[in-house]
């Protein structure tokens, strides 16, 4: 079986936070307790939208110790393939859904003397749970959170009110920006840095930290990509002996699942490496979008991550 174990849940609360972001609360449909989790974990939410089943990962943002309910926050993406639009427009309180057990690919390093969080936009969500976890054990942390404007700063007010000394908010529309070099320079020995946000922000933090001499192991990042739509293409699956069509609005992984091919996955966002698939033959161009494979592997034409990457061309044969 692929992916983590599943839990049947009921949507018990839906709270629009602002123009773009809405929070959803899930409780177990059977009334039991949910598993505890570690801050930074995500759950994969299954969305049955007519004939299409989408499975999108969302960071758990509720208190990891609270087993009565899980919360996620979903940012509406009008350009995306429809997962976030489905959550925003079609999900109602009382709906039954299926989510996965928590999976953590963005864990706290518990050796850290201090945890320095850098969030961009909706990237705030994993830190919400991590902050609750660290508060429980009186650990030292600090948050620097960049958002577009006051109106779009999800949870900025709540965080500032509860943790005025630890929380620093930066509004783009007021030309405020994190002074990263100075910030890194002032950190005590044993600090670990965590960044979650758009790719540009992650690259900026990683590159700056590297240039400032920070050890690679002390910089943690999570960037889940949503699969992007693209031109339809055809794939031959050698082991299953099937030729399948990947539609404009679905990922290669979703197309395989639709055809009953059991392909491994965890994050469905190009990060965890679980779905890595060997390319047997191809004639055309890969559109690699993951950040699991390195540049050389992308150029080699030997591997593809079917959760986010696509293909344009005549022939693609995969070892599945």
């Amino acid at each position: 079986m692929s992916g983590a174990d599943k839990i049947a849940v009921t949507v018990t609360d839906i709270v629009p936070l602002n123009e773009l972001v809405t929070r959803f609360e899930f409780r177990r449909t059977d009334g039991g307790l949910l598993p505890t989790f570690s801050g930074g974990a995500h759950t994969v939410v299954e969305m049955r939208d007519g004939d299409i089943t989408r499975m999108n990962p969302y960071s758990l943002m509720s208190d990891p110790m609270d087993q009565t309910a899980y919360c996620i926050s979903v940012r509406r993406d009008d350009e995306g393939r429809g997962g976030s639009l489905f959550m925003h427009n079609k999900v109602a309180v009382g709906d039954e859904m299926v989510i996965s057990y928590p999976v953590n690919l963005f864990s706290l390093d518990l050796r850290a003397k201090k945890h320095l969080f850098l969030a961009g936009g909706i990237g705030i969500t994993p830190f919400m749970a991590q902050i609750k976890q660290l508060e429980r054990f009186n650990c030292r942390w600090e948050l620097h959170y960049a958002c577009r404007s006051k109106d779009l700063g999800s949870y900025a007010d709540e965080l500032s009110a509860h943790h005025p000394n630890e929380t620093h908010i930066y509004y783009d529309d007021q030309k405020q920006a994190i002074d990263l070099v100075n910030l890194l320079d002032g950190q005590p020995l044993g600090t670990h840095v965590y960044v979650c946000g758009p790719k540009g922000m992650i690259d900026w933090v990683r590159n700056t930290a590297k240039a400032e001499g920070w050890p690679r192991e002390a910089i943690h990042y999570e960037e889940f990509l949503a699969p992007k739509p693209g031109k339809p293409f055809e794939v031959k699956l050698a082991i299953s002996n099937k030729v399948i069509q990947v539609g404009e609005q679905e990922s290669l992984l979703e197309a395989m699942e639709r055809e009953g091919v059991d392909a491994p996955y965890l994050c469905r966002g190009g990060a965890c490496g679980q779905c890595e698939t060997r390319v047997i033959d191809y004639a055309g161009n890969f559109i690699h979008r993951d950040h699991w494979l390195d540049d050389a592997e992308h150029a080699s034409g030997e591997k593809i991550m079917p959760c986010v990457s696509r293909f344009e061309g005549k022939t693609l044969v995969l070892d599945r």
């Binding site: 505890t36 928590p102 999976v103 390093d109 518990l110 050796r111 192991e217 965890l266």
Partner: protein
């Protein structure tokens, strides 16, 4: 109580013994007539009724005596139990996992009553009735990992997960097959497996690590491993090699059936929820050759496996010098008949020894 606990020793007079029940459920590790390393993992979600795979943490007739032996080892050498400072949360995770599992799987032996963080733990076989505050170390006589693993059979390696690797950052190790927690503490997966022959070249550890890093909450896994031990010793540690190593030279054709034991580890793997660490319980089962030979299929198969094992493995597992003596003994129980596939005794279908 459903289990009659043995009063027995794993040292000095070696009064350890298996009942007929324990022999029949012994986790014989060979599913075919030969052996080579493999990443032989499967889901740890129950197994046949009464088998060692059925419960999350198997409790058997040796429980009380094994816990007494653990206390003796720890009294002599406290470094058998270590937990680096960042592993305390994982220790609580483990305490919760074991208490919840045992109280659900053996309600007649263990009880757990929880009211928020006010917990009461009752362990009837060991006569413990303890109320404490979950996540408050001051309310336990030991750290959480030490507290619960003094009440659970088998060794426990608690592995931190970071930088795409696993780190041996905590553990309770008193029943080990010749490895040392004190030596391995803080090492990563490749470092602590460095002494194992052949497996690195086969890429076993790269694949095994990938599998382990992806073990998820709610989906534990298991595998069997094995070695040989002369006399029913739980503590075959490097620290005490000077005491037990010499005993390997005491085997004779007359005493080998009783003294030579097949040592099998049931290794399980659980993701720990609050810490995202991985716990690796290593449960040791011992069975003498003469008891194993009461199962005709196992007699035939053990002879063939030991006979054909590569020298490197017989050396690594520490019985290369005794192999001729073992084969003289085991060959008497191999009549050349075929064996049924799988590890189970199959007493109903496998013929009795034909010689």
């Amino acid at each position: 109580m459903t289990i009659q606990f043995n009063d027995e020793t794993f040292r000095d007079d070696y009064s350890f013994h298996n009942s007929e029940w324990a022999i029949k459920r012994f986790p014989f590790p060979f599913h075919e007539d030969s052996y080579m390393y493999s990443v032989n993992m499967e889901q740890h979600r129950g197994g046949p009724d009464g088998s060692v795979f059925e419960k999350r943490f198997d409790v058997d007739e040796h429980y009380v005596s094994e816990m007494k032996d653990r206390a003796l080892v720890l009294a002599d050498d406290p470094l058998r139990c270590q937990s680096l400072p960042h592993m305390t949360l994982a220790g609580w995770d483990l305490l919760e996992l074991i208490m919840v599992s045992k109280s659900e799987d053996y309600p007649d032996l263990f009880e757990l009553h929880r009211d928020g963080n006010a917990w009461r733990w009752i362990n009837k076989p060991l006569g413990i009735d303890h109320s404490f505050t979950f996540l408050d170390e001051a309310t336990l006589p030991y750290g959480p990992m030490e507290y619960i693993t003094r009440q659970a059979q088998g060794d426990f390696a608690v592995l931190d997960q970071r930088d795409d690797n696993l780190w041996m950052d905590a553990g309770m190790v008193t029943t080990q097959a010749d490895w040392s927690l004190d030596f391995d503490i803080g090492m990563n997966f490749f470092e602590w497996h460095a002494p194992v022959p052949l497996a690195h070249e086969k890429g076993i550890f790269v694949r095994a690590l990938k599998f382990l890093l992806n073990i998820q909450q709610g989906s534990p896994a298991r595998r069997l491993n094995w070695t040989m031990t002369v006399n029913p010793l739980l503590d075959t540690s490097p620290e005490n090699y000077h005491k037990w190593g010499i005993q390997k030279t005491t085997l004779t054709p007359e005493n080998i059936g009783a003294k030579q034991h097949l040592r099998v580890e049931l290794q399980t793997f659980f993701r720990l929820p609050r810490s995202n660490a991985l716990v690796f319980p290593i449960r040791c089962y011992l069975c003498s050759f003469q008891d194993l030979m009461t199962v005709p299929k196992w007699g035939r198969r053990l002879h063939r496996v030991i006979r054909d094992l590569p020298d490197e493995l017989a050396t690594y597992k520490g019985f290369i010098d005794n192999r001729p003596l073992m084969l003289d003994y085991l060959s008497k129980f191999d009549d050349g008949l075929p064996t049924s596939p799988g590890i189970w005794p199959d007493l109903d279908v496998e013929p009795a020894l034909q010689k």
